[in-house]
Amino acid sequence: MMPTSTKGVLGHFREPDEALAAAAKVRDAGWKHFDFLTPFPIHGMEEAMGQRRSWIPIATAVLAACGILFAQGLQNYVMVWDWPMNFGGKPHASWPAFIPITFEAMVFWAALGTALVAIVAGKRDTVPQPPPMVVETGATVDRFVLWISATDPKWNPAEAETFVRSLGAQGVRLVDGGADA
């Protein structure tokens, strides 16, 4: 791999189906650091790009369990151990009274935690080198843009450009470091 100032190669498609077919070909050709910028989510794109399942749901489950433990711990500490009070003659440790707080804390921890985890994971798990800010007019309207990053182990500018052309992409071009990044 030669050192290069090229950041990657761009090409776009006019139809979501072409983008799906292209994604499968890029995956099968062994490219790893590539991404698609589409105006709307395309059904089946994850499979076509060969993405593994996200681990974020597991984080959500763990956070939900933490929320449950936190709420139960807090309520039992406050209501039973630290400052027991008599509410309508009910036992201090009354599980029905604790359920709403437990439920809300579970939702709160899971939702907020998932958002934070998703932000961190989005930074970590994305293509090592995202495409430059202005990639293609129409990328948010009706173009489906393929980006192969120069950080890919297979990277070779000429080969990459030919390959993207061979997929039937339009407007194929190499993007330099300083051009429009």
């Binding site: 189906d17 059904h43 309508g88």
Partner: protein, 404 residues
């Protein structure tokens, strides 16, 4: 999104019919139900017989009305994912006419079921006298009958609109169905309250609960989505509707089962907690009745069957996508609905002073299986009358491409 042009449409699957084995099983279940009810009647146990009848009739009625409610929800939510399985709820509405008549016939057992139907009891009971303008047999037949008639009418209208689309195609029938759906959901909210108040809540005529109608609604949705999941899962497992129905559709359906399972727990707990908190004698009587006289283990099993076990089993993604994993859980949820109806009806049977004792619900289960068998036969008959997939629905292409 217009990417229908590039997808060759799969071969139209023609019509679906219940396999002979399922039909045979359904007939056997009807015989079991008839035998159970006949046995209880022949022994002169009118309360046991009629309470079993009511449990079975309401169980099947819930599945029938779910068909119409589910169609309305999907039309209004524009749930394109469900287009290829629309025939299932459509066929479920076929039960509304025979099932409605059978449910209304529970009024014939009013003397055994409802102590508000005894004039002498009402005369000595201030609360029942106060409620008598609502709780009397004339009003029972008029209001429940009118509600069931509305369900039959809306069910038939949904199916008729769908047939029109099968013939003519176009977006017009979909628009009509959406308007019908909006009207029906309002009608449904009122009528499910009326039907559940008369048939189930009035068993404990002294008791009341503002959560009751929404609880029964939740039961209907949870059991109904689970029933659709059983049917759709078996269709996928059998390779029927190949190309039209796949694990992505099952996944979304499984999510609905999962969501309604969580919602059931929410509502059932709400009802319990409000009563527990306020601790008013006229409210707590409901749970006192259902936790004493041997009922405690039965009611403790309910949250396990209806929530904890199916909820935990349905958490993994694959549990909703694989028919082999979704169908057993959905079947468990359908069974759990029987368990809940048993706990709504049977403990209330010891009217007034003497309490009903817990017993293994063998006659109740037999009757419910009988109604399920009858429902299955009507469902299968209706399913076989039309093409298995609404091929001219404008949302079909989106449904075929569905990923989740």
């Amino acid at each position: 999104m217009s990417y229908d042009h590039s997808h060759p449409r799969p071969e139209p699957p023609g019509r679906l019919a219940l396999p002979g084995s399922v039909q045979g099983l359904a007939v056997a279940l009807v015989l079991v139900g008839g035998a159970a009810l006949g046995w209880a009647f022949s022994r002169g146990e009118a309360q046991l017989a009629w309470s079993s009848y009511l449990i079975g009739a309401f169980f099947a009625l819930g599945l029938g009305v779910f068909g119409a409610a589910w169609l309305a929800i999907l039309y209004l939510a524009r749930g394109a994912w469900s287009v290829t399985m629309r025939r299932v709820p459509e066929a479920m509405t076929a039960w509304l006419l025979p099932g409605g008549v059978l449910a209304l016939a529970a009024g014939l057992g009013a003397r055994a079921l409802y102590h508000w139907s005894h004039a002498d009891v009402v005369a000595k009971d201030a609360l029942l006298t106060h409620k008598a303008p609502f709780l009397n047999l004339t009003m029972f037949y008029a209001l429940v009958g009118a509600s069931l008639l509305l369900w039959v009418a809306f069910g038939a209208a949904f199916v008729a609109v769908s047939r029109r689309q099968d013939r003519d195609g176009g977006i017009g029938p979909t628009r009509t169905a959406r308007a019908l759906s909006a009207a029906f959901l309002v009608v449904f909210a009122l009528t499910i309250s009326i039907v559940s108040f008369y048939l189930l809540l009035s068993l404990d005529a002294h008791w009341f609960s503002t959560m009751f109608a929404v609880l029964v609604f939740t039961d209907v949705v949870q059991t109904g989505t689970a029933f659709v999941a059983v049917v759709a899962g078996l269709l996928v497992a059998a390779g029927k509707l190949r190309g039209f129905l796949n694990e992505n559709h099952l996944h979304s359906l499984g999510k609905m089962v999962f969501a309604s399972t969580g919602f059931w727990a929410y509502i059932y707990f709400c009802q319990h907690m409000l009563i527990w908190y306020a601790n008013l004698p006229e409210e707590t009587v409901y749970f006192l009745r259902r936790t004493s006289n041997g009922w405690l283990p039965y009611i403790l099993l309910l949250p396990l069957l209806k929530f904890v076990v199916p909820f935990l089993l349905l958490v993994p993604r694959e549990a909703k996508r694989k028919a082999g994993r979704l169908v057993p859980v959905a079947a468990l949820i359908v069974f759990a609905q029987f368990w809940e109806l048993y706990l709504m009806v049977a403990p209330a049977m010891g009217h007034g002073g003497e309490a009903a004792h817990a017993h293994l619900p063998l006659v109740e289960l037999g009757a419910t299986l009988g109604f399920l068998g009858l429902f299955t036969l009507v469902f299968g008959w209706s399913l076989a009358r039309h093409d298995a997939v609404p091929l001219k629905d404008p949302a079909l292409a989106e449904c075929l491409d569905y990923h989740t």
